[in-house]
């Protein structure tokens, strides 16, 4: 049983490795790619992953921002560390929760959609017909989604942070009194250029990984009944990998 699991895990890694190599090979033909052919895909993906997700990201950011701010303003004075509220907000919201929750929203919303779309296209022989037209399917399908995903995730993280701070503040003032100038000063003091760079790094890594893994599982099903199985795998494994990568990035950049 355990050996079978290990063997299955190892085969999965080998398959993913083959998939990555095939994408690298595809990039050989990028100079022949006319961007107008992928422009619509990139725009549609950016709209779906970025613009359409904004209300969801903003509402979750307000709720999380409010919760964190309420907890911090209520409990920090008990430990005599109320002066560090801004630092805590930057640490929790901007550095960790913002990128992580944005990534989870993108995975569950767009990642699952990407896997389902590709899997359905494969079953309808649409991927096959792209190959027959001499279109490099890896480049045509994966590349615009990566571009859209990087751009969308970076924008959503920034929106999450801003809404998380300001919206959270508005929720928090209904329960505890915090002067706005104090709040903004402590947050701005705690925020550094490094945080912005790390947001960019995280959004680039997540923006590459989420569509890459989602597409990988989209290409896998060989029958319609397998589609939900692979969509579920795509979501669970991408979430797990994003948590792992997030921990690694934090460990590497902040230690």
């Amino acid at each position: 049983m355990i050996s079978r699991k290990i063997s299955s895990f190892w085969n999965g890694i080998k398959n993913f490795n083959t998939y990555i190599i095939s994408i690298i090979i595809s990039f050989k033909s990028i100079k022949h790619l006319r961007f107008r052919s992928i422009f619509t895909i990139a725009v549609n993906q950016t709209k779906f992953t970025g613009i359409d997700a904004m209300p969801l990201v903003a509402s979750i950011a307000i709720l999380i921002g409010g919760t964190v701010i309420i907890q911090a303003t209520e409990n920090f004075p008990k430990f005599g560390i109320e002066g560090f509220i801004g630092n805590l907000l930057v640490l929790i919201i901007a550095r960790e929760l913002g990128p992580l929750i944005t990534a989870i929203i993108v995975i569950t919303r767009s990642g699952s959609a990407i896997t389902t779309e590709i899997a359905t296209q494969k079953q309808h022989n649409e991927i096959f017909s792209l190959e027959l037209m001499g279109i490099d399917t890896k480049l045509y399908i994966v590349f615009p989604r990566i571009i859209a995903s990087i751009f969308s995730i970076f924008s959503l993280i920034i929106i999450f942070d801003i809404v998380g701070f300001l919206g959270g503040y508005l929720i928090a003032v209904t329960t505890v009194y915090i002067p706005i100038d104090n709040f903004l000063t402590t947050v701005m003091d705690a925020f550094s250029f490094e945080d912005l760079v790390i947001t960019l790094v995280k959004s680039t890594i997540y923006g590459i990984l989420i569509p890459l893994i989602s597409c990988y599982y989209g290409f896998m099903p060989n029958a319609y009944f397998e589609i939900p199985i692979y969509v579920s795998r795509a979501v669970i494994r991408t979430v797990w990998i994003i948590f792992l990568i997030n921990a690694l990035i934090s460990a590497m950049l902040y230690f």
Partner: protein
Amino acid sequence: MEEIELLKLENISYKSQKYESLLNVSFSVRKGESVVIFGPEDSGIINLCPIIAGLTQGYEGNILYKGKSIKSLNYLETHRYRQDLGYLQRDYGLISNMSVLENISLPLKYHSNLSTIEIEELVDNHIKEMNLTDCRNKRPVYLKRSERLKTAFLRSIILSPEMLLLEHPIDGQCLFNIQIFFQALKKILLTKAMSAIFITYYPKLFIDLADKFIMLHKGHIVFTGSRADFSLTDNRYLHQYFNLLPDGPMAEL
């Protein structure tokens, strides 16, 4: 018709896990020539077009396109080779989230140097010729079967390929639509001097279009001949196939 050999299959053998096999299949297609390949289910005809298009690997033998083995083509050359083939799949394979116009324009947008306006003009002309104007902006799900066939056909010829591969193009179509489709097909084949390979279960319907007929049974070629040979032959396999006889060489083990 020119005597230039465009495509040559040399002793192609292929064992498929999913479908029937091919055993030592050899034939050639000259420039401008149309070939009908037919046979019963399990004859191996289903494997031929994907092998010719370089999508199925692991076969024995050699396929020469303009004298060059397709096995020797590198990654980019394989994609270029596929641009030379207009492939019409059995289920048409139209992209479901694209309109008729977008489906037909896709190969041009990806491969050609034409501007977007020029592409639209060219595609619109074809759409008009095929009486698809009313469904220009419709997605495949809203199309009738004959409209899907016409759309897929236009997409396969839009790059003016040297050779057409048509897999069971008329399956599920009414006879009236088949005649309209054949008229358009004939016009294209003649005006552009394209070669064509038709895979079908109904070879007699192609009698006015094809120059050569090949029948496969259990992976072997059991008949090859011209239009006249096809009409006049006393080949036992063809006799059994067309008369739907339970007894004959195809029933033998």
